[in-house]
Symmetry: D5
Subunit: 145 residues, 10 copies
């Protein structure tokens, strides 16, 4: 336990967030996501919801304002325009930490391909379906150091 | 995620519980416990309470009925007879899974020494002080296989 | 040994099943299958039949209902329509655990190619020829957690 | 699978038996034995009985005729003279492969200490209690090569 | 770079501080300290002063209030009562972060022995002699979580 | 040393033969063959002839009867029809263990390419030129187990 | 600490510079650069400016005079002709150590691609944006040895 | 130190030469050659000249007489027909050990590409430019064993 | 294969002999010796006799003339004065390579203890009992370099 | 190759010297010294004399002025007062780099024991007997930084 650090973030996850640079991505995955065999390091967070994890990560990590979308979810299989309740929760958390930013979705297998390039995948215990989100890290500018 | 398995138990913890044999011990540690540098493998469970973890583990793992005490907590430093609220919660969970078994405590540094011999230490996010417990694994008898 | 867990599933196999996510595949291979040099981790189960292993795995692991076929065997070399006795046994076990699902076969070298992408290959001691089966993991839905 | 080799013996176990020399010991352990954290390499044989494993190993490995006892079981805790049914089965198999040799037992914790020095521990799925046996390897003499 | 985290703390050091528990110690060492061959992991911080590193670490890590002295320097060789200028700087930083706590020194080889048990040694570029300090981690209480 | 096992086969080679499955290949290479940097694990057998090694391996390992040629040598460079004395020795040993099977050769660089895919290469001390042979493992059928 | 060696260069970085040969490249990266997941080894230099690191490295390492540009920065995103203040500082340091050499820039993603081939990436704590530079190592001629 | 072995050849280099087979190549590189990041294992020989190393290696290793050129140097950049003094020294040593063989050169980047496939690169302290040579190993024939 | 090097000595054994210094010991062990689990690296030489291996090693390695006995065998168990035929063969080979040196024996378990400190143990296929010998390496003097 | 760095010092040795701190020791060993199996990392410098290596190391590394003797050789076996020619060479080099410091010797096995605690052992090709020296690293004071 440390001061200022959300307790959900253990040593390995904290080191990963600190090691990431501008444009690197991290995935928060739900309990059914195929995280362990996809390629990137999988960091376990069994029993933790994806929304609590998102809240904890965005407390420390800035999102990328060089791109259109820095927070990307997985679209419903077979119904790309369907809206899942967890999407709104994700979007609220993102907007609270990064005013002006939004939340978009991409198709399931496109999501997998992008996740393969991530710095890490955090496998939460999120039991709600489609509880997955990719986050693209931004920069901290000199005056914000 | 698997059927029958409490979702709190991730791959590494599940493998550890399965690999343990008669008399091997596992420690559920609170968020302040010095787990990572004590010797045994530390398995992270940040954000999870010690009582939820105890509940999950005892769903699968039998306690040792060859010894007097198979569930051991840490006594309050400087006041060995003091009773902590979490002791009662630990005791209730143990009794529910293993009728007739109890809960005892040992002194802080004796607890550390015993923890050094454990198969693993599960570092939870338990924020209540003295939220630590050692569990000694029992046998599964032929007719219970 | 643990409560609720079929004893055939050792620590490494249990961890693998727990680590797999939606769409990941595991192969149960017979004693002649070239498992160790194909790429994925090979988990030994010498002396165990493929049918007993299938029974044990499906006790814990759901199959994927997003796809047509989630349980796939190897077709007879040179006679793709031939029916092997072990196919029926596989199919019965699958149907008992996953009502409504079936069993299909693919050609030998196509089977090898698909096995190369598996999370793991369980090499049993199955001595009956064509005693191989690929299993695609499904999701556990929120209400089934 | 190989000709002449009992199929229960997988690659790692076969290599271990071959690598052992005069006086080295191997332990066949039951399903409750604390094999994985004792020190020596643990070789899994989940689902296999200790007696089938003993039969397979003695098909290839000679016992040591330089010592009094080359096959040693674990005595019943608290009743060192008690006879377990599996003792007779162990003894029969030993005598069939090594005429003139017997079977003795030592106390539980002495057994653990001796097992710590073994070349390996084979963890079977033996569910009968006290299904453990230490085997001391003998020599193959020039005329038997 | 992350929000709230002093930029001097890189991924490995941050993970170490997070992994440490109650009573674990970390050493901030000067540029001449024999850090790399003493035993604990050495974390490089070439070019950084010991006082800047102390400031950064105490921003996140609480000191142990269960013991008399939680911040310990190295006494001057051959003159244990001599006061070095850097001692005052260390003491000021400690007191600012942990009101009521002090700073003590121990003899050079006693310092080495204690450092051998540390969780890690941070080798700074501190060029002032005696620029070494051991820090003992404290707890974060439930209401401070 | 073990009963029933040709003494030339050490632990690593024995494990490799046991681990190989239907269609996997192993190379017996002469002393000049570029075995160590080709890719597959190289198993040393310095001082042993290729013919003695072939004899030992075929005592345990069945050849593949699903293919035309399961034992393949290297053709003479620049004279593909030339017959080397060691070819006849190879062929005799193969036929003695696998009645009805033959021995063919392929061009030097084709041999290298195929050897790159082998499970292992056994580097013998064979000093006769062209003392190389690839062996393709067969199946053991249920009634032969 | 060593004589003649700038103290900013720790053991790993010093070894890397020494191991590099003619044409090998090293990257000095700012605090926001995605260094850790790009491929090459990342060497941490948190808290150190890119200009101080450049000064230290060029004290020991010659630049390549076989090519047009041996010191390459990252162009401003969206404005390739824009001049950043740190460019001038980089150029001054380069010219002081390597009279007659200059400083050029390439586009952000071209910079990343080239950095993927580097011998190492030194991640400094440089907080000024565009504080990145690739250095191509030159030769030391016989008379300069 | 061993009898018969040139003392310049240390354990790792000796093992490499012994492990190489017909057609495998080793590179003797000068002090400026980019050996460590090219791919093959780099063996250090700081302070040793390329000609002394060539002499030592050819004392033990035969060159390949199946090819036109078994000893290949690097041509002068921009002047492929230029003759360097060290070429003559290389050629003399080659001819003394392998009567009838010569010495050729290839272009710098072609040399690098070929070096990437070598069994190892020996990085000497050769300070003369173009002090690099690739050696292709030959066979030892039965009567020469 | 190399010129001047006895072909029985493969890469690893050659490197070990070269790496050994004054007073280091190597063990040539027979096929029944417990070499693999004793501690030192075991180098396989299955199928090779201990006397051929001794001949090969002494061709390169000098024995230690600072001590009384630099070649030590294992005495017969229970009959320490008994003479084994292989002792004479060992002694002849030693005397041929190192005129004036002899051969002594020590008790079985004393031999094991000494072997635990060896640089390596070469496990031959020697089938004659007591075919074990410890060799202590000597120096090569300047004039013999 | 780097500017200011003696070319004899390769990447690993340079990193070791840089990593060493006050009081850490390094051994320069002759070609017969048992360096590889003593415990510390052995760094090869085959073909280099101990005196050239000493010259190179002392160009960068200060000796310890907190102790009586910071440069220690090995005394002649059986004649501790005997003077070896190389002792004078060692002493001259030490005095040139560290005016006022001397050179002492200790008995052979005491030398070995001390060498076991060293940061590393540099195995040179020194063929003169007793060409061994232990060096204890000193500090670089602030004004010398």
């Amino acid at each position: 336990m440390l001061k200022r650090i959300p307790p959900l973030l253990g040593p390995e996850l904290l080191a990963t967030l600190r090691a990431m640079g501008h444009g690197d991505e991290i995935v928060i995955a739900d309990a059914n996501f195929p995280a362990e065999f996809l390629g990137p390091t999988a960091i376990r967070a069994d029993g933790i919801s994806a929304t609590d994890m998102l809240e904890a990560i965005l407390t420390l990590m800035p999102l990328d304002d060089f791109v259109e979308e820095a927070a990307i979810g997985m679209a419903v299989v077979g119904d790309p325009d369907a809206r899942q309740p967890i999407y709104d929760l994700f979007e609220d958390i993102v907007r609270r930490h990064e005013p002006g930013m939004g939340f978009a979705t991409i198709e399931r297998f496109a999501f997998y391909e992008r996740a393969r390039q991530a710095a890490a995948i955090v496998q939460t215990g999120e039991s709600r379906l489609y509880g997955n989100i990719i986050l693209k890290k931004g920069v901290i500018r000199p005056d914000a150091a």
